[in-house]
């Protein structure tokens, strides 16, 4: 079995780009990733990609080149990018292909996502009565979590303030204006205890990655980053997920716990070895919960870690160094790959103003979303043994 390396990265700026379609943003990202690796689209042996509301990824070939390559569309909600990456990882690791591209992109209308209960196997009464609302789920999940772990809601505003501080240092971010924790806490309440600026917004953006067999990596770059593990898990009986008219009395760990544990096990790397982490922060509470669910710290330990600056870019466990979903928005198809793009920048030492000091060697990414899914990666600068 071959290892897998990332040898090219490309991104279209996140946020709102009027007049530029999601597909055009994807093409921009793909060309940039190919240039980064010194390759052409005709060199690609496969493609995996997807978007939630900006079209089919396989139609990008009409712009990138009609080369006959197998290009597979991936549609897996918030894990679309993560799933595309896992498919690429398997294609190379298995020996099927040597070199290929993954592309995640999106362009959503303004405002919260709306969903049809029927698509989730739920009666129409659930939507009619005002319960098919994702923001409520996040409010209830963090309300219960704060109660269970005796944490104070003030930490939620600090998480958002940190995201906007990091976004201000990232030229590719959408929200580049700093905001104090007091300003975040004083914003309109969306779903108690979460205020407006504790939630990310649907947005736009695109990311592409060129991957190859680990032993070939130095042909394309002198600074490869290795994909030591890429994992994906769905929910188990007893986890607490969005759009759930009921929950089981038996509580089970979230899919984030399973996906993260599998990623660390496959990589042979401990959470304590992580130098920089990008974890799903759909809202502030998600970052708080996911820090512990992924094993990066203990449950209940987050408050001290965050309030002492431990998760800042200069902290001992830098989290969401590019500003995360809070500062970059959530283009569903692109979000998971944005995290990988950021970690590649960090491990190359190319993150500029938002570079983690101290020569980071191990990066971790985590996405989580409806209807109870999580995808994680472990990235390393040294080729895994």
């Amino acid at each position: 079995m071959s290892g897998v390396a990332i040898v090219g990265i490309g991104m279209h700026r996140f946020g709102r780009t009027e007049g530029v379609s999601g597909r055009s943003q994807a093409v921009h990202a793909a060309r940039q990733a190919l240039d980064d690796a010194g390759l052409r689209f005709s060199d690609m042996q496969f493609g995996f990609g997807g978007s939630y509301s900006a079209g089919d990824a396989d139609t990008l070939v009409s712009e990138l080149g009609l080369t006959g390559l197998p290009f597979v569309n991936v549609a897996n909600g918030c894990a679309t990018g993560g799933s595309a990456l896992i498919a690429a990882d398997a294609a190379i690791r298995s020996g099927t292909h040597d070199l290929g591209i993954v592309i995640g992109f999106d362009k959503h209308p303004r405002g919260a996502f709306d969903a049809d209960p029927a698509e989730h196997g739920i009666g129409s009464w659930y939507g009619e009565t005002g319960m098919m609302v994702t923001t409520q789920f996040f409010g209830m999940k963090i309300q219960r979590y704060l109660h269970d772990h005796d944490l104070k809601p003030g930490v939620l505003a600090e998480i958002a303030a940190k995201a906007f501080r990091n976004g201000a240092r990232n030229p590719m971010a959408w929200r580049r204006k700093e905001m104090t924790a007091d300003e975040v806490a004083a914003a309109p309440m969306i779903s108690h205890p979460l205020t407006q600026y504790m939630y990310c917004s649907p947005g736009e953006g695109a990311v592409a990655l060129v991957l190859c067999r680990a032993e070939d990596a130095h042909r394309y770059t002198d600074r490869p980053v290795y994909l030591a593990a890429a994992t994906f898990r769905s929910r188990r009986y007893g986890s607490f997920e969005v759009y759930s008219p009921w929950l089981a009395l038996d509580r089970a760990p979230s899919p984030s716990v399973d996906a993260a544990a599998a990623a660390f096990a496959a990589a042979g790397i401990a959470p304590s070895d992580v130098d920089v982490a990008q974890i799903q922060d759909t809202e502030s509470g998600a970052e708080l919960m996911h820090m512990a669910e992924t094993g990066l710290c203990e449950h209940g330990e987050q408050e001290d870690l965050i309030l002492s600056g431990g998760t800042a870019i200069e902290g001992r466990l830098p989290v969401n160094t590019d500003g995360g979903c809070l500062a970059n928005g959530e283009p569903i198809g692109a979000s998971g790959l944005r995290q990988v793009h950021e970690n590649v920048l960090q491990l190359r030492g190319d993150a500029g103003e938002h570079q983690v000091p101290g020569d980071p060697r191990v990066g971790f990414t985590h996405v989580y979303g409806a209807p109870g899914i999580s995808a994680c990666t472990v990235l390393t600068r040294e080729e895994p043994s």
């Binding site: 309440m189 929950l247 009395l249």
Partner: protein, 138 residues
């Protein structure tokens, strides 16, 4: 109960104590679901039977709805703002529900609650109801 127009009558059982929610219970492993369904999400079997869910429980979590929800929501502004939560029904499951109390300072995890039917939408024939839970006073 026949006088009350309800959003989806298939959810509601008529009991001696008043209206209650229908659920399913697995004959093999005892797992409960709401609403009723044919397959068991725990043991993956298909031996589900109808069961009346408890009309009383304790508040497990809660939140508020701070902006006017988009469709498929059909509620009328007269019944807003609204709050939602999860209520633990002992020995059965944790059900998601609207809450009668909308002030988060007057809601606390663990408080005793009971089922109530509340209006959420007006149409030409008058109010349409859904289920909610309200603080239970001893």
């Amino acid at each position: 109960m026949s006088a009350v127009r309800f959003v989806d009558p298939s959810l509601l059982a008529d009991t001696a104590e008043g209206p209650a929610l229908w659920g399913s219970r697995c004959r093999d492993c005892g797992a409960h679901t709401f609403p009723r369904q044919g397959g068991c999400p725990r043991c993956t079997g298909s031996g589900m039977e109808d069961v009346v869910l408890s009309r009383t429980g304790t508040l497990w979590s809660f939140t508020t709805q701070g902006f006017r929800a988009k469709p498929p929501y059909t509620g009328s502004p007269a019944y807003e703002p609204y709050a939602v939560g999860y209520v633990e029904l002992p020995g059965q499951l944790i059900v998601e529900t609207r809450l009668v109390e909308t002030d988060p300072d007057r809601l606390e995890i663990g408080m005793p609650v009971e089922l109530a039917l509340v209006p959420f939408r007006d149409d030409e024939q008058g109010p349409v109801h859904t289920f909610a839970f309200v603080r239970r006073t001893p």
